[in-house]
Symmetry: D2
Subunit: 304 residues, 4 copies
């Protein structure tokens, strides 16, 4: 069946299904987003592009940015990176701080907040102009030069992110944050404030579907081995405490954000991004997961 037809079919079916849950409300910029928003974009490594719904509208990618930050840090640090952050899933959310304490300030993986804070700390030591260099990196790999931060989201995050400050201070007490807390947290909250559309996100994630090479130029940004590792980390750690369920229902490496976005890849074939801002009880986009479940079922594209 044609991929366009499949996306249309999924979109029609799920647009009419009622949603359980709420959009994120901890900052005003997320709280005011319409719960009805819904877009999908799929880009294949052969250059095909399929999309439906609000796929061109920008939204706050939030934690999906952690994958880009990880990619850059892995590029700079290589295997040394794993001395400061692990690659194991973190178990349930309830013990985020105790686990950090128990494991001497080394976060379980780079896709949880504490791990991404360490990654931000590392990037500060490698980037000349961190804010600019980070966004340029995303522009380059996606091929969309107009991608940018949302300054209001950044400000709001900074004013409410006390739990993130708690984790940063705890890690600093163990010596696993090298720069000043304020500088690290500024950059961390900035990273989380990137805005992208499904189209831009899927295009950026083609890197992970294409073994670390840009589809346009065939330029290698990360090695095949590094790309495989990032995909493996997304597979086991990309969905907070729902990674197992996502793995089992969708069967693709991916990463979600609290803005309702999900980006995923079918290695060697395609990348896909969905946006639907109503979150389920575990903090992931409920309709987004359902979308990808139907997609892999209808196309037979699970990695398992």
């Amino acid at each position: 069946m044609d991929c366009n037809v499949i996306l249309q079919e999924i979109y029609r079916e799920l647009s009419q299904t009622s949603q359980n849950g709420h959009v994120a409300t901890y900052i005003p910029e997320l709280a005011k987003v319409s719960p009805e928003k819904y877009g999908i974009h799929l880009s294949s490594i052969q250059g095909e592009r399929f999309f439906v719904g609000d796929s061109k509208e920008k939204f706050s990618i939030q934690s999906i940015a952690k994958v880009f930050a990880l990619t850059l840090a892995f590029h700079f640090e290589k295997e040394k990176l794993w001395k400061r952050v692990g690659v194991e899933p973190s178990g349930s959310a309830f013990n985020s701080l105790v686990q950090l304490e128990y494991e001497n300030g080394k976060p379980r993986n780079p896709l949880i907040n504490s791990g991404a804070i360490v990654v931000a700390d590392i990037l500060l030591n490698h980037l000349g102009d961190p804010a600019n260099d980070f966004i340029e990196f995303i522009r380059t790999i996606s091929g969309h030069p107009q991608i940018d931060y949302n300054p209001k989201v950044y400000q709001s995050e900074k004013q409410t992110g006390f739990k993130n400050y708690a984790q940063a201070n705890l890690m600093k007490s163990f010596g696993n944050i090298h720069n000043e807390i304020e500088k690290v947290m500024d950059f961390y909250f900035l990273m989380c404030s990137v805005e992208m559309s499904c189209c831009e996100l899927a295009d950026a994630f083609l890197l992970y579907a294409n073994h670390g090479k840009l589809v346009q130029s065939n330029e290698e940004f990360i090695t095949t081995s590094q790309c495989k590792r990032i995909n493996a980390i997304m597979q086991t750690c990309g969905f907070y405490d729902e990674a197992g369920d996502f793995s089992f229902r969708v069967g693709l490496p991916g990463k979600s954000g609290v803005g309702g976005g999900i980006a995923a890849v079918y290695p060697g074939h395609y990348s896909v991004a969905v946006w639907s801002p109503v979150l389920n009880a575990k903090g992931n986009s409920g309709r987004g997961i359902k979308t990808l479940e139907l997609l892999t079922t209808k196309t037979g594209s699970s990695i398992f």
Copy 2:
């Protein structure tokens, strides 16, 4: 390159590498196994079979049996199974009991001890003659009718398994164990006492590489969807607190046992079993993981 050549090459290389760690010593039957044992067997869904080293020698498969138990329980209970056991990785080992307590006696997944104890409890309600029916199931899917339990291993496990009893009692206090503790634990320890060779284990795991169908007869034992789910669970939960690292180094769903065995599958292609009894700090076969890492690197068969 020919798969036989690759296995020979890996075997030669790793036979000469010194090993860090020790064989399991908590029961005499495991403690007395030679640390030098080393075998590999790969079975493809086309019927090819490649092997090297001690691949015909039986060893204690231990926790690998949890995959077989899960398969049977999933077959009987279908989606109801997930009411009593989760599908999420468990995070670090240190909080096994607190997590069970925090989550009201529902284990995080069926491949950790508490989860497999719940699975054992479920099987007692479905199997007429549990001990016999369980081993017959393994004999059937592997096509090896001589597979059996090791009664000494069973006895030793039972006499030292106090922590498993603690978990069973805690779950019973939450109503998540329905049969008598003694009956459940007897069956649980029996399951862990199965002995198989790499050859037999790889042949049994062909089921998971072949989308739930027996390779010999094309008979469907579990549905494609169920098979995909079991593979997803192995991917995220199959290696204790080293699932992320295995995922990232090997990139295949698999399960390890404290006897030094590992079984893994490349869905749609092959299954493979390794045995090397020296365990690393996380309780998995160090040489076994290295073997599979070289195998997927040399054959390009990671799912990522």
Copy 3:
């Protein structure tokens, strides 16, 4: 003011106050007790005895028995006892098992369940006929030869005490239980099934008010120093997660039981027992605590 008048006054005031909470319901023998029961008995070391209400009626003393068990074990083991059980409060209940695990199977103190299970294990090695010797000890120190176990309570406890079995097995896995689990748990549940009246309980606790000597005969059962230690442990650990609040409102060492009883001592002066079976949210008798708070306020007998 006369102590009789004070007890009458407290009894009148609190009989009319409505109670929040419920009687314990986890076993039928406790569930069927009338929530209106209310008795108080105070015995001074000068031999005075004051009482009011249902002070002669027997009730299930439950965890109060842990003080008697500790006294016997301390008598036998002396300072060696503290190698197997601590003297620190346990913090909130939620982490009972993780704390036990974190501290290698050594319970925080002898008045929590895990600690009393270790004490039971120790007594099995010192008493020729544990069931008989333990009840005889209570009969002797109280001077009431008719005190006995309630076999129905014992049976019910045994059938529902899975969480206690979990703790015993966890401690056994660390080598801190020396006898067979079944034998230890039988004795532990038996200890919890003792029945006494307020009168009998206050008389038994005179030992702790009288520096370890029997009031009747001046015979030393435990040394002054040992008695001081048991009182200190009651002060910091006698009321589950309400020890601080009890200490602060009442200001006397004491121990509560889930049957609604509380026994407390004013060292050098008196012992007192209250019974009122409605439990507050922390599992202690709400009216019992209020009774003792009024008593120490009206008589000025707080230790602080």
Copy 4:
């Protein structure tokens, strides 16, 4: 026996005993203190004063200041105080952050760091000139107008106190810190930097021995009931994870500091302060505890 003779005797005995442990080293001002320092001062409510050794030399009182802060906050807030901080011991140190998280940002008691941070936050809303008003309070109750902060200790604490910042941020995320983190932490670290001698400290603690009244003027600073409560909290929470052991060996309410000081009271009789900077494994002055143990044994002044 005369109290002077007893103090001399204890001093002689313990001066010659070798000490296990080390002085605190996390800030240079504590690290450079001589491990041989040793002073004792006892003040009775009748106005007697006994002392020996380095009892006039100032040292960093550190956490002992939490008792003064609690006293002021309790004075201002009365029973409302307990809505924001509990009165229960905290169990072992390992779970400080998880417990705070589990209990929604409400610290277990006002004598642990998180509790004292909440108290500092409260005082900021009641004191016109917090730094000055707090030190004036200590000067007044002790009758020593020359007591002051040590600015170097304050600076050093602030630069290394990341774990305290972590706790403050975690509590802020739960809404239990009302002022800005920086302002709260500045005041908290200032409080911990007070310097006093044994003489000054014992004189200040007379308030708690004298039921809340100044010995000099008989002026009531806190009510008898409030004083009883503060003593009860010291009894159960004053010695980190050694409160039970202190209670059991010494039998007096007290508070220790990481500078090696301990202040304790025998309600209705006397207050006493010891200073000996070598800390035991639990972070309390080992010789200080031994000193008080001998004192209560030789004088028979345990509250139990």
